[in-house]
Symmetry: D3
Subunit: 240 residues, 6 copies
């Protein structure tokens, strides 16, 4: 039994609330338990200069944490004048994950900017961000398609993410902060609705891990992402 009372393969309560920003072309407040991430998708007519005249679109992402989203206050990156390595790592991961399920050629020369801002953190902010970002992205494409600027939503699949780890020798799914900070191994999996692997990041926090254990983590993640994908389809009104 985990400290939270959850079973090893039990995720936290997850909600994906859409329409949470009146300006953005797409938006989603992703809640994984006490981790709350506000995701917006902004459509821009201009692609980065190195893509001009390529006929292709681009998706990029930025990530941030509100200073008191964390248990003790984290310095505001805007005030410090630089984004941390962790922030940059996460926002690059979000962008890659979105591009992996997008047919950039079908987007035309348009850019979508994803913003994921953590309002409250309790572990797993990057996985909640990816899961919510997909919903915001899908809505933004729907809106643009509805305006006749795209023939169809240029997404090839859904994509979601979940963390798994080894805590006290046991594989656990969707770690909260308390688990995350004591885990022997910490892994994040980004997986499509059809089960395609998009990104695997597994890190030995203390001692190297065995392949069998890694495969157990992957199996648990597949279960979790399956449930997230179903929820994404539901809030987006997509057929299963």
């Amino acid at each position: 039994m985990r400290v939270s009372g959850r079973a090893a393969s039990e995720m936290r309560a997850v909600t994906l609330e859409t329409g949470v920003n009146k300006h953005a072309e797409g938006s989603c407040l992703a809640r994984f338990g006490d981790t709350h991430v506000l995701c917006t998708a902004t459509v821009e007519e201009k692609v980065p200069f190195w893509m001009r005249n390529s006929g292709q679109g681009w998706i990029t992402a930025e990530y941030g944490m509100l200073p008191r989203s964390t248990g003790t206050r984290t310095d505001r990156e805007a005030a410090k004048g630089r984004q941390s390595g962790r922030t940059q790592e996460i926002q690059r991961l979000i962008g890659r994950s979105m591009r992996a399920v997008t047919d950039l050629a079908r987007m035309g020369e348009m850019q979508v900017r994803i913003d994921c801002d953590v309002l409250q953190a309790d572990g797993g902010t990057r996985t909640a961000a990816i899961t919510g970002a997909y919903v915001a992205l899908h809505q933004a494409f729907q809106k643009v398609a509805g305006l006749g600027l795209l023939a169809a939503v240029p997404l090839t699949d859904t994509v979601a993410a979940v963390s798994c780890g080894i805590v006290g020798g046991e594989v656990v799914l969707d770690m909260d902060y308390a688990e995350d900070s004591t885990a022997e191994t910490d892994a994040n999996f980004v997986i499509t609705g059809n089960g395609g692997l998009v990104e695997i990041q597994a890190t030995a926090e203390k001692t190297p891990f065995e392949e069998a254990l890694f495969l157990a983590l992957l199996g648990a993640a597949r279960d979790g992402v399956g449930r997230l994908a179903a929820l994404q389809r539901q809030v987006l009104g997509l057929e299963a």
Copy 2:
């Protein structure tokens, strides 16, 4: 009649939701119509080095806007590596406003950091921030007092803020973004519950204004702040 359908002296629907952050000592989501500002108060044991051994406390504030809080996306200040002049102006104003109703000597050597982050903007973000920040600050002091670290909440009054402006020659209260961007004169008033003036900022956006008009703005603001103060007392459970 204003574009929004409001009467000249009518404020937008205002709500002050507390307990919106599980980590912070105090928190408040201030909504002035479509302007939503998340305010947290963080208590720290350490004051800035220039106050050490003064026996006094300090309150400071930071302000930020989520990139897509605005109608068109605003660049993320953390990514640009610097806070704009507007951001710094607003966060200095929030800090001064909080200190004006705090008895710093009664705080002891402790610091409260206020963070005001705009989730969605539709004009008047600084006034919503000040109004919400006060609620978060009061809660933080209550929490610290409850722990026996302070004899009492060291606040001398409530404080709230509202914008007024001259739009189409008429004095209007609590401008939304559409009004704000066309106003001839734009003013922000920070006023205590007892009617004491804390900060006045009035700016001729196009042509200089007359003293009589300024006094009309001040009168409208007093009305608005009176209603905000009542709401603050209500959500904080203070007697009127």
Copy 3:
């Protein structure tokens, strides 16, 4: 009687010396007692990119203090790599004040950059800066008009600024540093030659202030600005 020996409504000796920079289109060394601010106006053919093809001009301002303009040396902002919030607040105020008396449409697509650099500080640097900046700006417009690039000086009025405060319960005009740092309330007023209000900034430094006191500050400021406007007209050779 004030520490300086001045009466409550007495300003410091003010001089506005023009022609102090051989390169600038307009220049003025504004001295308010021991506060000395060097103001230059630079005319540029290019407006900021967001104004291109608007047919309008723009005026912007920058402000700085020499490191030893202050009683104890202040760190050089260029060496620190960022301008303080105070600096940005002041330079935005100077820019707004100049634009409030300029008919931007009559300027054509041209930009004037005002630079206000404090050579020596003794309180009231922003009000001296605004007062001197107007003189430099007027001269720059005269020069450009003299070259036939403008039909006339596109200024609608003069503009000047003065500080007032409540020190020891009494309203005093044009505070020096010693007064400024002990004032209960500190206010800056930017007012045109015709008495139009351009900007009001009043701040309770310790305790909230009453409306009557504020009106007394405004009255004192009107007196002071009247004298400054007369001096501006005199050094510019304008008829009264």
Copy 4:
């Protein structure tokens, strides 16, 4: 057959040259074909402030590329004033990899700083960096132990890294730049001499990948790291 003429499971010529810096406590020039990374290990008496009095040591890493290490010149990060997200991601990975095989408690309060600077790049700079960094780190610990400041080298295993990818549908080991930039999937594996997994990073560059393919990548990586570990032991004079 690969463009380079190598077989799918064939690594480039790898050399690990030690003693390449007369100042550093440990140094290694790691060459993976045309990828050359200069690694140094610097021992410092002081740990970061957040580790003081913990009785533990710390290892941190920095990574950089010389501007013309790349086919077209890359802007110098020192001149741009910020390190890219990619740079930060890589240096965090190097640091974690070194710490995963170090018994920090046995280090005592001492810090080792690893610097990995890419002199010439042709794909796989991060894996060459990790492989060379381990050699430099081991030497530095040997030197410190030789001085009697450590009872023994506090390393629990060797660690090395290699990239694998799917190019043209085929699993290839140790990609060069031409392969890397066309790979469908790109993965980096950090593995200990005993086969323990330290870090797995696998990314779908174009389309999601299947689990079977991932396992093939892992298998290829294990082969490669086995050869690298043997080379590390050889240059360090360790028994197999």
Copy 5:
């Protein structure tokens, strides 16, 4: 005959005005023709951390140009967020020049900060800065000695600087901007009152120069510095 009408060995009108800043321990406005540099010396009790407990003092310098000191406006370094290479080169030169005539051991653990700010530029700003900085430094030491904090002024000689160049094949002394920007060779000499060489910087702007020409430049500079040294002694009231 030079464009300015000066003879080849004729300097511009030079004045060294002291007492130009009421706060600084020493100050001097150095005017070399239309080049005006305001120099202040600030005495601080604290030396840089790497000199603590050395029993020695330190002198450091900073340099800046007001944006419109130049013919066309130069961007403000504080706004750009970094000092140019030229600025850093000059301020390092000023600091070295002052230290070369100071007995740091006799200073005790005290630091003097020199600030040289160019109010108006017409060539030779660094040489005017050095010449004025010496005067400000001397006054600061006199003031500190007068307070009994130093036994005597710890200066071993005066120091001043002048530029020389080859313009149109001819050696000219103390170049103005027009000459400086067309010179074939540009040299700056920092020389003590007794003729000791402190710093020589000679640069071929277009084609390499011959040793004989260099010696002619040095000879001209000796003449110029002799006159500057006499002026320094005069304004400081030192016997010749």
Copy 6:
């Protein structure tokens, strides 16, 4: 006899190794004893915007030190976010030195970027950098000429640099770090193959120096540069 065992006029072993970077148009690893500087020349089609349509080319240089090139580790400038004054001074010197022997008009509108990165430092890094940079530059021009993009190598002479100093009252050539840090006077000379002077920088580190001593330094430098020029011609296959 010097600590290193060298005679006063004896240089360290100098080698100039070319072809050390497979990407760069020209490259040279310059070794002056234990000082090793990797120099590359990158040819770009675009000149800086202020040179467009001038018909002329441009050469610019950047300089950096690997963190552990020094005896104790130096902070990485990319991590600190700014280049030191020393770095900027040196890279400006390298650029000027290259331009002094280049006929920019014959280059056409093309830019060469020189990068000099210190792999290991033991004094004299800037002189090794200049000496190696010339070789890399020459090779880059040869390559471009070989492609038919230039009629001929647009260099008018070779250029090299050496340091001299006064150590223990004696003139010594090509100082290593131990000498450099104790020298009474430190000078760097940049001289062409034909003996033309390009740059002289001489600094009194402790006490002013006499002209005769300076001329002795210059004489020693001429000897040293003569030997370096011969070596440059040899590695470039130029006739003497």
